[in-house]
């Protein structure tokens, strides 16, 4: 019959149309289909039915731990009485070398006698140029630069507001633990492991301390699990 294909197609559209309203009725007694966190997580999962619109900004999708937007620098949690918490960054410059569009530049800290200090004096990232690749955080040997999850960065200035300096970039380690809990734990365990094995190499007794290992799940959170 001529037109059968068109009718079948319309039936598919009708099915989607009806499914959305049926889902609405289903969630009526459970807090509503929109502006409801539980309903949102179901709607975005494999069980979602009907239209999958997200009513941003009232509803926001949860961002996974590995999501990368602009980098930020990690510092210790600020202690009372401190002007500036201790930076984890030692200004080694690996992130600047590996950045593909070359958007990071660092001025190394200097001690009064002229020797280098393992702290950056200035640290700039031009976020107009940053391509959110994450290579800086991947290759930082001190876990000092991490990819932030905050993507709501609109402002009124087009030029200098987009050069983030060290002050703007620094956030405490508790913030990193909050946004990427599992990753932060795994990284801490890896740091403990590295410290313990260094201690062993210096000739400590093996019977005194059991060798810590990374669990399976922890190892999965880290970059690169290779042989050797």
């Amino acid at each position: 019959m001529y037109g059968a294909g068109l009718v079948k197609g319309l039936a598919v559209t009708m099915k989607h149309f009806v499914a959305t309203y049926l889902d609405d009725i289903h969630w009526l007694a459970r807090g509503g289909r929109y502006y409801n966190d539980e309903a949102l997580s179901v709607r975005q999962s494999l069980k979602g039915r009907g239209a999958i619109t997200v009513f941003y900004p009232e509803e926001k999708l949860a961002v996974p731990e590995r999501f990368r937007f602009i980098p930020f620098l990690v510092t210790d949690d600020p202690q009372p009485g401190e002007t500036w918490p201790h930076d984890w960054c030692t200004s080694c410059g690996i992130c600047a070398k590996v950045c593909p569009p070359q958007c990071i530049w660092i001025v190394r800290g200097k001690l009064p006698n002229g020797r280098p200090k393992p702290e950056p004096e200035e640290f700039f990232i031009d976020i107009d140029i940053c391509m959110n690749c994450g290579l800086c955080s991947e290759f930082c040997p001190f876990d000092a630069i991490k990819m932030d999850h905050d993507y709501e960065l609109s402002g009124y200035n087009r030029t200098t507001a987009h050069i983030h300096d060290k002050e703007r970039l620094s956030k405490p380690i508790s913030y990193w633990r909050e946004i990427a809990t599992k990753k932060a734990e795994a990284e801490e365990a890896a740091r403990e492991l590295a410290k313990a094995s260094k201690g062993k190499r210096k000739g400590k007794d093996e019977e005194d301390s059991p060798s810590p290992t990374l669990s399976e799940t922890q190892a999965k959170q880290l970059y690169y699990r290779g042989e050797g």
């Binding site: 037109g3 197609g9 590996v98 958007c103 200035e122 994450g134």
Partner: protein
Amino acid sequence: MTDTTIEIQETSEGQPVPDDIDPVEDATVALNEKFPGEITPDSRERFSGLIVSPERLVEIAEYLRDDLGFNYLSSVTGVDLIEDNQMEVVYHTYSIQKGGGAIVLKVQVDRDDPVVPTLVPVWPGADFQEREIWDLFGIRFEGHPDLRRILMWEGFEGHPMRKDWKEPFFESEEKPFGSRWPGGNVSRAEEHNPFGKNVQYPSGWLPDGVEFEVDTELYAGVTVTRDATPGLKTDKVTVNLGPQHPSTHGVFRMVVTLDGETVVELKPVMGYLHRNHEKIGERNSFIMNIPYTDRLDYLCSMSNNHGYVLAVEKLLDATVPERAEWIRILMVELTRFVNHAWALGFLLNDLGALQTPMLYLYIERELVLDFFEATAGSRMMCNYMRFGGLAYDLPEMVRDQPTMEFLQELIHERLPKALEQLDTYITNNEIVRTRCIGVGVLTPEDAIAYSTAGPVLRASGVPYDVRKAEPYSYYDKLDFDTAVRYNGDIYDRYVIRIDEMWQSLRILRQVLPMLKETEGAPIISGKPQYAIRVKGGDAYGRVENPKGELGFYVTAKSRASNPDRYHVRAPSFINLTPLGHMLKGYKVADIVAVLGSIDIVLGEVDR
């Protein structure tokens, strides 16, 4: 899976699979016999290929194509060998019937006035690629029908890919570069002059009052003189389609000569999205290039990563652990599904089904992109593969569901349902059938001659799939068929993408249990390094991108940390070569439909 309204052609008959006799060796021996003394193998360490002299090039090419069966010209690359004061053109040719590796021909000419005979009469697919080499290197191709600039604009001076042409900002010799803003003194050009302008002109030159001779050559080649029908005054009109157009898949322009509604001639014009990818590739170190490859065909970033990583692994002689290979295949096949969903959605969009089928397919695409985001950190610009493996293992949870469960449900239930829905929805739709069947036909001989690849080639009846012809990764261990269709029209190119999506699901069903088995295995071989040093040589790594054959030709010196020459064989770019040929005699409305069926992405066309 087989209860769909269209017949799935699950046969690999005619699909070339390399057997024990290496066709490349055979052909090399035959070439040496026929042209004694003319063929010298490339003697540089770890370089492959046969150097031939420019005078005999056309003869040798014809012999290769007609007698030795190497009838598919995959890629034409220009190389600037500034130390030897030479320029080189590298041709990769493959055999459709026999499969297997490439016969690589190299022609080396003087750098001061480089002239190479054109191969367009032998393989019309060399057309755009030779124009690109003229544009970017300055090698003149004698006998080329239309040697104009293709990626740069007509008035551009100089040949940018030459080694002595320095990029405007990055003018230093040493790489990687120092700071962009020395001392952190950031400034914008607008702040330096009272007019707030950010343009600088050479001294003594003013923009006003200059007459640019733009497009004269282009229009002269396309416009046809007035053609009088007895009794009726008719005229042919030359129009531009694009570059700003909702249906040209990006900033892409076509100059069309029309006789009423019928297309007389069509010339594609590209270069509006040219971002200098290849020169950036030379400036960056190997690992810094991986995020840039994401942005080539920005819908299939995993696949692009895979091609580049394959090429550099050849330079490194690196091996990849088993789990990494399985995850790579998982990602690439999911990308294939995602890309074809996008392509079909946009094709239907162009036909007039205003976005409804497209968005229904995107529901599944969203789920796959959620998975990519949880694994790699980003939905589209994944930057996931590394040399010798991957950056990360699979995550624990995807959207509050354990990953393996998520994948299981996705691959066994959600995606097949979506495909079935698409079949019910559109494949027998009368409008689609009337507009697509018999339109934009490409014969198999033309498809091979024009160097098309991917679904465009296979929809014309040529069962050539890189995954089977020259298997890479673990594709030789997997059981899947090559999708083929025999009419070569838009409808076949539409249906073949659905076929390929079914085959992708078949592959994914085989990969899932392997992932469960290799739980906990390493995902990269060797230590992670940000500054790798390769062993040198040249390598051509090619993968079956959803759009076609994506190849990366990477050359490097021994112990180098960045490539010497980095070329991308872009399938979208080369698939556009037969566009004018396919559309002669069809109507204006068919232009957009045919373009949609070729499935281009401007990031790849222009690089």
